[in-house]
Subunit: 229 residues, 2 copies
């Protein structure tokens, strides 16, 4: 599980997977439910072989132990719930990357440690990250747009990082926005492909991705110094 | 439509879309059918909103004007047809890239002209290219593996190109295989994202992708000269 930022706290002990399954009309069914309860219910159902797109509102309601109609008190439809999950995933990934930076040592660049943190989370089977990587291809249009927004946030943050780093290290920088975009998209696409990789390939895949990102970072420095290169 | 290599010739005039739809038990239904007929039938059904994964064997048979059972004379199942389509798409894209190289001028690099040819084909609504870009995410495991094989072929060809170019231009090259992989994956992922782009964004997206590829090519040259950069 990703480290959840303050806004939404989901301690594992409250995950509805631990609750008994409800049956229709069951007397013990909950009357009051929060958005977080529904988010948790959807997360509990997601897995390597269950995408969000394949979940039904009825399944989420059953998992959350509410009547299907109660779902609508919190979300207009499944798309709105999906968008909430994507936003949660974005905030969570931001937290992970920020934490990775604090661990940066003189032996490891910011980029290398961010790539490492991303892949580590991925290989830990993080459901939110899985959602972010997968629904961009199979999700409904509102969910795809939400993922595109999150990717744009990452690109913008990375662009600002690249500018700060270039200033700090006195290196040149060619087209910072395109550089940030290339890195973000490459990390997400290689991450998606690594999802099904066997355990013994994981560290090799992380090293490969780090090398690819290094090619881009070196390229932007070289072209920044000599745009006609 | 992509330029189809010699092995499989599909002149547009033979596409089954021009044929009247068959009805079950229709007396005029074809008795003999080739693999190409089924490939053409599937292609005719594919479109921006119809993925191969969403096609049924029955639909393909109807489009090809045969009884569903006749399908099995040519393909074991829909997956085998899908793999045949992916292989056709791979050969076709190779032809396009080869042709683009012949058009290389002193003002345009091999990489730039290949990226241009790829995006041109994409924006022309090429169904085989669409298949290659989309089924990697939503296809069945055999189809995903077939796409992965095609991507590996492209990577290997590009790696050899990079080696030739580096020798010709007397430039250095850092980790040719990783360089080829980064370029191939970035082109395919940016291509997928460009699929839904409005017409007025198309030339900008092509330029952006060319810039990203240039970052990688420059990076591999710079790191090749100085691996500690």
């Amino acid at each position: 599980m990703l480290n959840i930022p303050q806004a939404v706290t989901l301690p594992p002990s409250t995950l509805p997977t631990a609750l008994p399954m409800s049956t229709p009309g069951r007397p013990g069914r909950k009357a009051v439910i929060s958005r977080d309860d529904l988010v948790n219910a959807a997360l509990a159902l997601l897995g390597p072989t269950r995408s969000f797109s394949s979940l039904s509102l009825r399944e989420v309601a059953r998992e959350a132990d509410i009547a299907p109609n109660s779902f609508y008190r919190q979300f207009r439809d499944m798309d709105e719930l999906g968008v909430a999950l994507v936003e949660l995933a974005g905030r969570s990934l931001t937290t992970i990357i920020l934490e990775a930076r604090h661990r940066v040592s003189p032996h490891m660049s910011v980029v290398r440690s961010s790539v490492g943190a991303f892949m580590e989370q991925l290989f830990a089977g993080d459901k939110l990250l899985l959602l972010l990587l997968r629904e961009g291809a199979v999700g409904s249009p509102p969910i795809k747009r939400a993922i595109e927004r999150q990717l744009s946030f990452f690109e913008e943050e990375l662009r600002q990082d690249l500018l700060r780093l270039a200033q700090l290290k006195q290196t040149a920088l060619f087209e910072p926005a395109m550089t940030a975009r290339a890195i973000t998209r490459l990390v997400f696409t290689m991450g998606s492909q690594a999802l099904d990789a066997p355990k013994e390939d994981q560290s090799r895949l992380t090293e490969e991705l780090a090398t690819m990102v290094r090619l881009i970072v070196t390229g932007t420095q070289a072209l920044g110094e000599n745009p006609d290169a």
